[in-house]
Each structure stands twice: as C-alpha cells, then as structure tokens.
Amino acid sequence: MSEADVVSRLTDGMTVGIGGWGSRRKPMSVVREICRSPLRDLTVVSYGGPDVGMLCAAGKVREVVFAFVSLDTIPLEPYFRRARESGAVAARQMDEGMMLLGLQAAAWRVPFLPTRVGLGSDLPRIDPGLRTVTSPYPGPGGTHEELVAVPALHLDAAIVHVNQADEHGNGQLLGPDPYFDDLFLEAAGRRFVSCERIVPTAGLTASGPVQSIRVTSLMVDGVVEAPGGAHPTSCVPDYPRDEAFQRDYAASAKDPDGWARFRKEWIDGLDERAYQERVQR
C-alpha cells in the first residue's frame, strides 16, 4: 500500500500511536502524508520527536500523550513547544514507563497494569483520570500498598517504520534498539508498517538473526515500501539522522512564518518520491 492508502484508513479524532523514539526511526513519510491530508483532531501517542512537532504545526493534533518530545541532538522540539505554550494542543503527560505499561495493558486487553511509577509525583494532579488500586496482598512491611493503575492505552491506529519487511508484514529491525514498535502495533486496532524495502520472506533471515524480526504479520494490516521514509530521523544501519536538515527545521520555528515556509518547501504538493528527490539535491 501507499502512504495515501494508510491515511485513507484514518479518520478525524482517532488516537494514533507512532513508533520510533525521539528523532529516531519515525515513520515520517506517513507523517508527511497526514500533514497533507484534511485529517484533524488526532490524539497522538508517541515517544515524541519531529513527528509530534510537525503534526502539531500542521494543525492535525487535538491532544498529545507523551513523556517527552525531543529531537535528540536538539533537546526541545520547537514546534511542539510553540503548540504547548500557545495552548493549541492539549496534553496527557506520562512517565516513559507508564506509557509502556499503558500500551502493554492495551496489548494484553486488561484494563490497567499496577505500578509504583507516578506515586508522589504531580502526574495524578494534572491527570485527574489517573486512579490507584490497593494491593490485595500485604507488602513485606505488612501494609497493603496503594499503587498507580495505569489505564490501557488503546490506539485506534499505529504506524511504525522498520528496516525491512516482507509483503505479509513480517518486519525486521536491523538497528540496535527496537524501541516500543511491536507494542504500539499490538495495542492498536489498525496496524501499519512502513519499511525501507520490501524483501521476500526468505530475505529476512538472510539479513539478520531471527530475533531481529520483531514484527510479525499477526500485528500488521498494511505495509508501505518507503525508502528513506524515516528522513530526517535516523534509521540505522540504513542511514543516520540528517542533522543539517533537522537544524534547518528547528531554526525555521524561530520565524513567525517559518512553518509556512517549511511546509511549502517540504510538504505541500510533493509526493514521497518528489520529497526524496528534493532531499537528494
């Protein structure tokens, strides 16, 4: 399928999970296509990078569910900051590990998972929906601990980017870190994988150990072949982050019309092939 096919299966108001981590292995070709689309009012769940910043700047986002949003080498995502400081998007803030538990609960189809994480912090204060549970078992000190019940984080759709996949959606990660991509897929109703290249199934184990096939066809409804699709984020070992591009992107946020210029040059009127050709120039 194409990026446009993915977007055609998303609807206004959906909760969309995006894989990767910070400015790493983000499904940016699909993010660009969402920016071009009329989609709106999305709730975006992400270990956030430029995916979150661009979708906020493009006016696609009602709420961000996040523990951080960062461009890694540039600590703060400038368009995300602007969206938050102007009050343009709502936020549901989490601890990084709480997000893992929320996705895991959704994936396991249980209503919550208990944890100590969040106790004593201001997360319950700013997220009044967050509840606690009393342990039915006594702790070593004899008390029944009050723990945070992290609610399942159901995703209407999830989008992740991997190094390679077969046409069935068996996806392979050749870099050192799988992040949380398989969990995003398992927590979602509609599951999409973009990849650097589609290979025959036999090509997967020829490229790496079987443990690198982190994504199975059970988790995937559609595969997009998107060479360079994570640009400007990294997709190691295929390519590193495009630091120069990222610097320009971040710098554009300093001008009031910076986003308009950025999207005119890099989003509007381009399909993914034209985008990649422009990046190559």
Partner: protein, 251 residues
C-alpha cells in the same frame, strides 16, 4: 590553591557519587555526568555497569563521545525499565527546578499545566526513577531559578512526598546534587537539602545567594576535593577533547 579547572572538580564530584555502588547500572545522563560515571568505573568502582548512552552495555571505558570497542550486553530503551523497576540502578538526572526536599521538575515552567510558560522535555522517566532506584542530580548552572522554594511540577519526587507514601516508597533514595558551585545532599534528620562541600574558589555565601531556599549548613563546610595528578591523567584520557569545559567554565 589550585589551577584545576572547575569542570575537573565537578567531574570528580560526580564520580564520587558512584563510590561504593558496587555492581549496579550507573546511569549518568549528560556529558559531564557520563564523564564522572566513567571516572568512577575506571578509578574505583570497576564493577559498575554502564551503557554507551544507547542500546549497549560497555565492556571497556571509552572516551566521551566515542563508541565502545567492547560490547558487554544489550540494554535497549525498553530493557531500561526492567533495570529501573528492579532497582539495580543509580541514575543522575538534570533538573529544570529542584526544591529543598529534592522534588524535581523537567516538564514545564509555569503554573498552568495546560499552557506552560515554557514547555521543557516532559516528565521523561523521573517519576519512575525516583520511586524505584537511587537518584542523584547534576545541575551545571546553580541559580535561584533552578533552586526554588516550590517546583511548578513534581516529576522526580522528593523526601517529603516519599514520606507521605509510606511503604510504597521504600525504594526512594536521593543521594546527592552536584552543581557547578557545590555538592549537596539530604543527610539531615528531616532530609532537607544540605550543603556538603563548596568547590575551590566558591564561598558558602556564593551558594546561599544562588539558592532560592534555606539550605542546611554545618558550622564548617569543607571544600570539594581536588583530584590528584593521577586522577587528572585518567580524566584527560576519558575527555581528550575537553567537552566538560563547554558545560562548566572557569577555575
């Protein structure tokens, strides 16, 4: 008394935070803390486990900014929670704000969480870190903007918050706060922040003026120790490009 750079003093003040930690994951975040952690591993805590800042556990102790030659293990982001929630880790984080009991904010500045004056990183792993494993802080710019009476959002929890939780907070432990001016800890009866030592060239009054709340201060505040020539040689090997001096200036 010394021509040792302030950054060098800070690096060893960080290193000393990891003394006696034994075999745990020392997880300093940021250039100067990583340098301090690697100094500790190289000089006195060889069993410390450390990452390359990414997915690998390092088998050697490479200079700052360089990849390890020996990889000892795999610890991708998701595995980090297994370590944190198991408690076998001492993390050193940064702080946008911190108060006298060690409550820390890295999420946002301002009173309205829906429309912050300044959006910072987010809560990151601070709530989970502080409730599960020992935590220290590194603050390169000690000022009343950072050391505040009350933080706007509690991300990492302090001793007062932990005390209210009872048994559920039994793994909470804040060790030290290292800054460009001083080393602080919480070794007081009610765990209020205490001035442990001042760096060479810094006075107690300098620290008091840069702190927005009342510190516990003993009668005789020692000076932060100055590294030996042998230690400085190891420091030079681990940071040949002097990245530490970008974070902390002067002598």
């Amino acid at each position: 008394m010394t021509d040792v750079a302030r950054a060098d003093v800070c690096a060893f003040a960080v290193a000393d935070c990891f003394r006696d930690d034994g075999e745990i994951l020392a997880n300093p975040i940021g250039n100067l803390p990583v340098l301090g952690g690697r100094l500790a591993r190289e000089l006195y805590e060889p069993r410390l486990v450390m990452t390359d800042g990414e997915a690998y556990l390092i088998g050697d102790t490479p200079p700052l900014g360089e990849a390890p030659e020996v990889i000892a293990g795999w610890n991708p982001y998701r595995r980090m929670f297994d370590v944190v929630w198991n408690g076998r880790r001492h993390v050193m984080m940064g702080a946008g704000q911190i108060d006298r009991y060690g409550n820390q904010n890295i999420a946002a500045i301002g009173g309205d969480p829906d429309r912050p004056d300044r959006q910072l990183l987010g809560f990151r792993g601070a709530p989970g870190n502080t409730i599960n494993n020992p935590t220290s802080y590194w603050i390169p710019g000690h000022s009343t903007r950072v050391f505040v009476e009350r933080v706007d959002l509690v991300c990492g929890i302090g001793y007062d918050r932990a005390a209210e939780l009872g048994e559920a907070a039994r793994f909470h432990e804040l060790r030290r706060v290292v800054t460009n001016l001083a080393v602080l800890d919480f070794e007081t009866p009610d765990h209020r922040m205490r001035l442990r030592s001042v760096h060479p060239g810094v006075t107690v009054d300098d620290v008091v003026a840069a702190t927005g709340f009342e510190l516990a201060i003993g009668d005789d505040v020692p000076q932060t120790r100055v590294p030996t020539a042998e230690e400085l040689a190891v420091l030079e090997r681990l940071d040949p490009k002097g990245l530490r001096h970008r974070e902390v200036k002067g002598r």
